[in-house]
Symmetry: C2
Subunit: 360 residues, 2 copies
């Protein structure tokens, strides 16, 4: 089995299409894969052709198309590399193309994505702030969006649109082990410190109502979100888009997912990486400290995180209003139910933030 076929076997089209991959591209990639073409090249070629479209549009002054085609280029580069953990050179090339293309798309998106590089120790946290178009000068609440094992700040564009339509600003960023920051910081046990730096940044940002901040994390980001909510009282609502409490499921995960986890630790030895992950990813020490309303979405057919993760969250998150939704037909993050579960999460967090008492 080639690397490409291994990747094909674990693809989740529900995820890819809900995040913005156009169906014709998905279908074409499938045909090319069957014909023996290389997955990475298929998608990097698509990325390059969208990039050309985007650049030409910008030259003509067609900024809406320019921004969106560059975003398509970025998303194509994402899927070129997203599971390419066995080939760090290609993974880095794809990752850097993805970030660079989105950076160029950012000012042309509607609404624009405002780039931030938040100083943090000897590095900086890269992120994008987007504000609802109809904010007419007033302060708006904001939801902090966290990616997962290989999903990054560039991937939440369409989910951001859902939040923006509901009057929420969004701030998507890469934490340690993710996207751009991976090159400076591998996966770390203290992701919440990075979230707090983001909260500091949002407190200082003009037009953002810092008393109404929420956090939403996807897949492994669901773990980070709950951890941040436990440690950062300025977060007033939390969504775990997929339940993850600790790494007890690790040995049962699909091989590519295990490879990914090992990769983002930066530790070469597989046993060492495994031991580190067990230690670094565990909510037991903080889960009892979550105070804000928290929503957990989980799919019963998730092959990465088992129902045990849901049970542990229910057991440990005991000091917060906790709503757990388990979808009997849902896969990982319920990507196969995107049109139902995604708007519902956006509604939930918009409402939870709106209901924060006005004065403390």
């Amino acid at each position: 089995m080639s690397d490409s076929s291994k990747i094909a076997a674990i693809l989740n089209p529900g995820r890819m299409l809900a995040d913005g991959i156009p169906y014709p591209d998905y279908a074409d990639a499938g045909r090319r894969l069957e014909a023996g073409e290389d997955w990475f090249e298929i998608w990097m070629n698509k990325s390059r052709s969208y990039e050309q479209l985007g650049d030409a549009a910008l030259e003509r002054g067609d900024t809406v198309s320019g921004g969106e085609w560059l975003w398509h280029a970025s998303l194509s580069a994402h899927y070129a590399q997203f599971m390419w953990f066995h080939d760090p050179g290609r993974r880095e090339a794809g990752q850097r193309a993805k970030s660079e293309l989105y950076l160029r798309a950012a000012p042309h998106l509607l609404p624009a994505a405002e780039r931030a590089d938040i100083p943090f120790e000897d590095t900086s946290i890269p992120g994008y702030l987007r504000r609802p178009v109809d904010a007419d000068g007033g302060e708006v609440p904001c939801v902090v969006l966290i990616g997962g094992l290989e999903s990054t700040k560039e991937e939440s564009y369409l989910f951001e649109a859902m939040c923006l339509r509901r009057g929420l600003a969004t701030f998507a960023f890469d934490g340690p082990g993710q996207g751009e920051l991976f090159f400076d910081r591998k996966l770390q046990p203290d992701f919440e410190r990075y979230v707090s730096a983001v909260v500091d940044h949002l407190e200082a940002a003009e037009g953002i109502d810092a008393a109404r901040l929420g956090v939403l994390g996807r897949s492994l980001g669901g773990y980070y979100a709950v951890r941040a909510a436990a440690c950062e009282p300025r977060l007033r609502a939390c969504v775990a888009w997929g339940a993850c409490f600790d790494m007890t499921d690790f040995d049962a995960m699909p091989p590519h997912t295990r490879d990914g986890f090992a990769y983002v630790t930066g530790i070469q030895d597989r046993d060492e990486a495994r031991a580190y992950l067990h230690e670094a990813i565990d909510l037991a020490d903080v889960a009892g400290n979550v105070r804000c309303p928290t929503y957990v979405l989980h799919g019963r057919h998730d092959v990465i995180f088992s129902m045990e993760q849901v049970d542990k969250l229910r057991e440990h998150v005991t000091s917060a209003p906790l709503e757990i939704v388990v979808e009997a037909d849902g896969d990982h993050c319920c990507h196969n139910m995107g049109p139902v579960v995604r708007p519902r999460m956006a509604d939930w967090i918009a409402r939870a933030i709106a209901e924060v008492p006005a004065a403390l």
Copy 2:
């Protein structure tokens, strides 16, 4: 071969997904179809489940989700009936459900779709006006959107969004033979009179710059658009999303498409319907009168309208700036290239309308 399998054989997933059918629904319908379920029921069930989600959301006050789920319900009902010409009872039930659901979605869409029923002889022309959100009080240009053989005003929601993002208002309506108006008016040779009534309506509408109106029609709507541009000088730009000049391709069309054409004439006898279509659909008498900039998009692999239609447009539309784009890999309306061709058409018409000289 069952009716359902015949429909499955001619499905165009590029179209369905680009117009808003979520991938999980498309994939699920495919599985059910293989298991022997009935196409109409599969989609009407989806429609009902989105309707329930939408109604519940509206009851909770979640108007964004409410509007979008009702739109999903409408679109699902559309695909239940779209090729069900052999069973007028079901077709009418699906069609009426589609219109009714969209009507309920309309006020909650962002931006809202404002319903209009434009008096016309002894009936009225149903349509929806949508205005760009950032219009800040000034007058905005508007593009009139025309559906095709079975596509209607409810189907252009995502394409409207493309126009709206580019600062254009949109007015989508059903003409004779289409959608809601079909029950009052079958296909007629004078579609342009209905477009002129729409233009009258837009001239009177507040906030619309009536000196900057364009028209864009899809599939058979491409024929109507060029016809309207030829006869209605207040239209200042025209897009034919698919070339159709006359019915010379009729006998070579897929059987379901021929059934559809016969159906919308309301004529039972197939030979009579065929003769009527040849007479009613022909641009030869007016094509030379088109004066406004006109853009034609066509796919070389279109199995409904052949390249001859493109050649005839080139031959006859000689008094207007004419841009013809033929995509070598494109299917009918280039639905298999949606993410490339759709933004390009929106850019083209936005620019053509913007370039209309300020004073005449």
